[in-house]
Symmetry: C2
Subunit: 388 residues, 2 copies
């Protein structure tokens, strides 16, 4: 297997956009290629992510149309991936695998999503299609409900009283909004305080509105190349040190919502491949679709023991100057969550962090970064460890 | 790159089913693994195809649920591919690429679709989402319209009067129904004659109802393995000799509907990789979504010169005893077209043909077979050449 690097990365401003999925992806894709000092004709394959185009724009089979918007050659196949919120990370992982193996030298990968056009009721309905619809939809469980259950289980299992847990979860939202306020691409760039969270609308007990990430529009794209080629094209290639992906079935097969089996396995694969452990990680972009999800994630990686991660944000350990900076971009919570694009935006942030390009939200001296994306109600997890 | 083989293959009976997408895929997947003499725990990745689950069953993110229905291990990632009608072929191609490159040794790939539950209006509406919706849907063009235009252009370009062309197209439907009548898994197992076609309802001039493939339910799955391992597991591994995939944008970028640019490029890739030309091919499963599509395909492969393939069925050259047997399974026309499963069913037929397992529809002495699947209105084509 050859060493693989990331060249140019780019994302649109996340938020509410009037642009189509294809227009947003073209914007990100062209910028990523320009930063890579390559032309569209150099790209050998497009690995493209989108989840809900059928409902957003009556558009499926979007990959070859993204391909033509970018002016890629006919010989370069265009492939659409869908693994719920982990979609773009999975597309990037497969791009990296096929570059590592010598099938391709230069691949464009990423994703796009235009969730806000659906409005909240249809967005909620269609997002819930990423759970096992036959068994779970009839029970009325949407994603806020799943993560609310996880919070209740966490509270009971580790004897953290719910009111106390809620305050610690609110601190996670406060931290990620503080980070997002430093990110000009973030959906929300406004600081909040604990009271903002606790006094916001109750969505699914114990999760308030500000415990939940938004529906967002946006796209992100990255260029993946063989490491030798990368050095000729850009000043600071960032290397893919390890990757992992694992699958876990529907909720009824998951014994314990506080332990994300697919993530523990995905991180094990990535960590083992990289020869790097949690102690080596300087910066993490992880899947904080709800504040409790950030707690579950940092514990899965071994950054914290199980049952011990809930107050990491409160103690200031997961922000600048702390033990490890978690979601410097603002995370899904503040940067936003255009689901088919999210993984590529996470890779974009980690790559820019490892290059020292993040301005006031720069994690000083960051050398190793982790991307973590979760799909559905814990059914898919994809992890990528990057290094400078 | 390592040599890659297909082990067990399986498909459900195509037609109208009461089963869910996941139930159908589990049926095919379990049978494919059983025929491969392997256990679910041996599978290292699932490459899964489905197009319209969101509209059929309110189900997206289906790959990890297919994974759990089959009892695959958590360490095996489950990835959903979508490239319109070429979905399963693309999933299989990527499985083969990652086995060839040594990332995996044993992968299950295939697809499932439950189109009939939508009913014809919603099925027509959602199938059309595989065209470039922003530019084409507003023009009222659905797929019968696209291929009807291709037939008109073919008639004009090659000076084949339309009434004459219609009769030759009808002969393609007659042939594929005759083939399908010998296939116990086919959606339609009934012979028809030219008058059946010409007297059927007009769908989009010059295409009558019997020029069009049906909406079908079904699933198909194949096990892909490294060739050395394959020989230990099954009596007759079938080898992947070459593969190709190419992308072409929306209709407005295609200069000539009678020339499928993505197919010419995909076949060039596959043929060059295999070191085999059209003259080497004994049997073809190709994308006859409409009768005219079969003409365009055999010309793309160089089996016929451009403008010369229209009367191949009439002359008996594309059936048993002819020059090359095209769609011995009955093709999309008679075997049926559950879109996310179609490519895997085509591979299933070619593998069984090359193994000599096809009973009364066996192509005698078949040694080299071609799978051809087209996605959308010529946006994606994936080709796989197999050999015994």
């Amino acid at each position: 297997m050859r060493e693989v690097a990331v060249l140019g990365v780019a994302m649109t401003k996340f938020g509410v956009s009037e642009k189509t999925n294809l227009e947003m992806f073209a914007e990100a894709g062209l910028e990523a290629m320009e930063k890579s000092n390559i032309e569209p004709k150099d790209i050998q394959a497009l690995f493209f992510g989108n989840c809900l185009g059928g409902f957003e724009e009556g558009q499926l089979h979007m990959a070859p149309f993204a391909h033509s918007e970018l002016g890629l050659p006919t010989s370069a196949p265009a492939v659409r991936f869908e693994c719920a919120c982990a979609t773009a990370t999975v597309a990037i992982r497969h791009a990296a695998l096929l570059v590592a193996s010598g099938v391709y030298d230069l691949v464009l990968a990423g994703g796009t999503e235009r969730a806000t056009i659906m409005g909240t009721p249809l967005a909620t309905r269609t997002f819930a299609m990423a759970s096992q619809a036959q068994h779970e939809y009839g029970a009325g469980i949407t994603f806020p409900g799943v993560f609310a259950m996880a919070a209740h289980m966490y509270s009971a299992k580790y004897s953290v009283p719910l009111p106390e847990l809620k305050k610690h979860l609110a601190e996670i939202a406060v931290k990620n909004h503080r980070h997002g306020a430093m990110n000009p691409k973030a959906h929300f760039q406004k600081e909040i305080d604990v009271d903002t969270v606790l006094n916001s609308m109750l969505v699914a007990d114990p999760l308030q509105l500000f415990d939940c990430c938004p529906f967002s529009d946006g796209a992100a794209a990255v260029v993946i190349a063989e490491a030798g080629k990368a050095k000729d094209l850009v000043d600071k290639p960032i290397y893919i040190a390890g990757m992992g992906q694992a699958a876990c079935g529907p909720l009824y097969l998951q014994q314990d919502l506080t332990r994300v089996k697919a993530r523990e396995e995905a991180f094990r694969q990535a960590s083992s491949q990289a020869g790097l452990g949690p102690e080596d990680i300087d910066v993490v972009e992880l899947h904080d679709c709800f504040t409790i999800a950030e707690v579950l994630a940092i514990e899965s990686f071994g950054l914290y023991d199980f049952g011990k991660g809930f107050d990491a944000a409160t103690k200031g350990e997961t922000t600048f100057g702390g033990k490890v900076v978690v979601n410097p971009s603002g995370g899904l919570k503040a940067k936003g969550h255009p689901i088919g694009a999210t993984g590529a935006a996470q890779v974009t942030e980690i790559v820019e962090q490892l290059r020292g390009e993040c301005g006031e939200r720069q994690v000083q001296g960051a050398k190793v970064g982790l991307v973590d994306t979760l799909g559905g109600d814990l059914g898919t997890v994809c992890n990528i460890i990057l290094r400078s």
